[in-house]
């Protein structure tokens, strides 16, 4: 049943395959993301309460959900690397970590830029903000552990274990932070009353979300290919590749 998947565990096949899908991903990213952003930032109607400042929503929400999605992707890669000893899964987890950290930072920065006009403050210890910050710490831990090992295979395994420990902890941390927040803080900040979106706001959002997801896929593909090359630099096929590209 899984036979069709086996050839892709070979680094060379995976490298050329990701090369093919990379061109598709990057083309789609350019089309969809630019359409989505232009539509969202220029043509979508402004919110009746928040005015134009709500448009940051089109960047903030995709970044926040992707930052969590990438962690789950990393955990799946780490799990398959530990269970089936796939070296390429390690490489893909290594490729994902910095992208996820970057999107967490984007979500935090856009969130606080949005919070300033809406809540009147750059930062509140809201449950979502706090758990996003902790998610950033988890990402930084994985990246730091990855960099601490000389041997990239060991680094991948160690970071994989940490990722899995983290993924068990994420729900616990999330619920504990929510609980802590409701205990410690009264409703001093009125929650953003989110009306269910109208169609002409929803479509640009869908485009933005898809566009950012494709952007993530593109960046991860590029990083994944680089990881494959770095890990297989002594293999003959990599040398042939370098020679043929330098001609």
């Amino acid at each position: 049943m899984w036979k069709w998947l086996h050839p892709y565990a070979n680094p060379e096949v995976a490298y050329h395959f990701t090369g093919k899908i990379l061109s598709w991903f990057s083309a789609l990213t350019i089309i969809i993301l630019s359409t989505g952003l232009v539509w969202a930032l220029l043509f979508a109607p402004a919110d009746y309460q928040q005015g134009d400042s709500f448009r940051i929503f089109y960047i903030h929400v995709p970044a926040a959900s992707l930052s969590m999605g990438i962690y789950v992707g990393m955990a799946i890669a780490a799990f398959s690397s530990l269970v089936w000893q796939l070296k390429l899964a390690d490489a893909s987890a290594a490729a994902m970590a910095p992208v996820g950290a970057a999107f967490t930072v984007i979500a935090l920065l856009t969130g606080s830029a949005w919070g300033k006009p809406m809540w009147g403050t750059w930062w509140i210890w809201d449950a979502r903000l706090t758990s996003e910050l902790i998610l950033l710490f988890l990402y930084l831990g994985v990246i730091a552990l990855h960099n601490a090992f000389e041997d990239k295979n060991l680094a991948g395994k160690a970071a994989g274990i940490l990722t899995l420990v983290g993924v068990i902890n994420i729900p616990i941390i999330k619920y504990s932070v929510e609980w802590w927040n409701t205990l410690h803080q009264g409703s001093t900040v009125s929650k953003l009353g989110k009306p269910s979106m109208t169609i002409d706001m929803l479509w640009p959002f869908i485009f933005c979300f898809l566009g950012f997801a494709l952007l993530v896929a593109t960046i991860i593909c590029i990083r994944f290919r680089t990881e494959i090359l770095a890990r297989n630099s002594i293999r003959p096929w990599v040398r042939d590749l370098v020679i043929s590209e330098n001609k």
């Binding site: 831990g141 060991l154 940490l162 068990i168 504990s176 802590w180």
Partner: protein, 230 residues
Amino acid sequence: MVINNTLSYRSAFTLIIKRDLTIAFRHRDDILNPIIFFIIVVTLFPLGIGPESSTLSRIAPGIIWVAALLSTLLSLDRLFKSDHNDGSLEQMLLSPHPVFILMLAKIVAHWLVTGLPLIFIAPVLAVLLHLNENSYGALMLTLLLGTPVLSLLGAIGVALTVGIQKGGVLLSLLVLPLYIPVLIFATSAIDTSAMNLSYSGQLAIIAALFFGSLTLAPFAVSAALKVSTN
């Protein structure tokens, strides 16, 4: 130390605990220094914040728990480091016994020399911080259930970093985010008890964290050690 095939799991477990306790008591500084660190960190807060007893009693639970986290972190290093350096850790991994039993024994021994003393010292420091009189029971109980979680989760971090030369700072980066739930529930239990309310809910969650990490952490530790010792 001889581990032979005829040893039962239970005797292997107690043997490791005895061995680690013997080593710890021969290097008393390793036990005392984290405790002294704990005391010093707690005394720094009143100096930084000011001596008003109302402020201090409000933040006392947080101070004591953060200091406990930091001193546990400081003591974690000796959990596997010396054993890794002299090779006995590899012998344990090669022994016929399941690794997680041996690692659980090491973690228990570590908690006995670093977590347990904190429970006895914390009430004294709580007096210095004017902790609410109703909260002493909650403080002791949360420390009793919470510090083993710190040792268990910390052991995963140490196991991952034991092969790295400068693992100290890295360890805190890995472990501290994982400690957040314990901190939240412990301090909220103490706060609740100060208001004379029942804090059994928070205590139950800390107990759940304790049993969850007790069952899962030793496996993560042995997997991590197999990576670090290569």
